[in-house]
Amino acid sequence: MRGFYAFIKKEFLEQIRTFRLWILLAVAVLFGMMSPLMAKLMPEILSSMNMEGMVIQIPEPTVYDAYTQFFKNFTQMGTLVILLIFGGTLSGELSKGTLINLLAKGLPRRTVLLSKYVAAVIIWTVAYALAFVTNYGYTVYLFPETDVKNLFFSLFCLWIFVCFVISLIMLSSTIAPGSFGGLILSAGALVVMLMVSIIPKAEKFNPITLASVNVALLEGTKSVSGLTLTVSITILLILGSLIASILIFEKKKL
């Protein structure tokens, strides 16, 4: 356990030293501010580009438009940023050989992997919370009506999805070689899942669903109970990826 805490601390220091923590926090606040503003200003921007004699009727933006922007930013750009920030944590150290000394001194490999995962999840959680608080503050000021359904469950769905993405990065990093191996393989896996999500029957079994139903949950057109299976599958996949990556990592030649 002592090794675990020490390694988590090292991870945090590393993320701070490489500016990655600050970048992620800045992007989180940026998304939080940008999303409601974009939703609110979109009609103004569109009408300022209006051509002579053409009138575009745009309905008054609502709080749902703000959350649509928020979740769209996070599922698209956010996932990409997460991949870039955490994609190299294990792959990079493996290809540079900085872990060899620590492992030779008796630090178990599973401790390295798990503490890297836990550190990444903590950082992601802090960034996500920061983004939501900023987003909420802006939304309350910009929109008169801010009541939505299932807000926390909807946020939780995206949170657990990104936790799954991070576990995917860990697994990919133990499989693929090179300092960008983990990044490329996990991005590839996400693309495959995105293609599978076109099939309606696979929806319930695909973790990517958790990153696409968020606004439907807020509107109440999707129910919480309809997603328990998807959430359970995602949690199982997280555990599965972590166990698989530990097993592969234990056998890997460094």
Binding site: T18, I23, V27, M33, M34, E44, V81, L84, K96
Partner: protein, 69 residues
């Protein structure tokens, strides 16, 4: 003109957004001008990327462009 006025009304909301974007860009520019080595590409390329692509540029620089040394 009417549109400009309604945009002005959101200025207090826009200012922090712009400041944060500029801060990210400046941090990346300062770092890349102080360092000579990049994982790939050269200084000109990274200055363009950081200056042109909004907040995506600095993210790319700090995650894949910045040298590990």
């Amino acid at each position: 003109m009417e549109n400009m006025d309604s945009l002005m009304q959101y200025l207090p909301f826009l200012i922090p957004l712009v400041i944060l974007q500029l801060a990210l860009m400046l941090a990346a520019l300062v770092h890349l001008l102080k360092h000579n080595k990049y994982r790939f590409g050269n200084r000109v390329l990274w200055v363009i990327v950081v200056a042109v692509f909004g907040f995506v540029g600095p993210i790319l620089y700090f995650t894949v462009g910045r040298s590990e040394e």
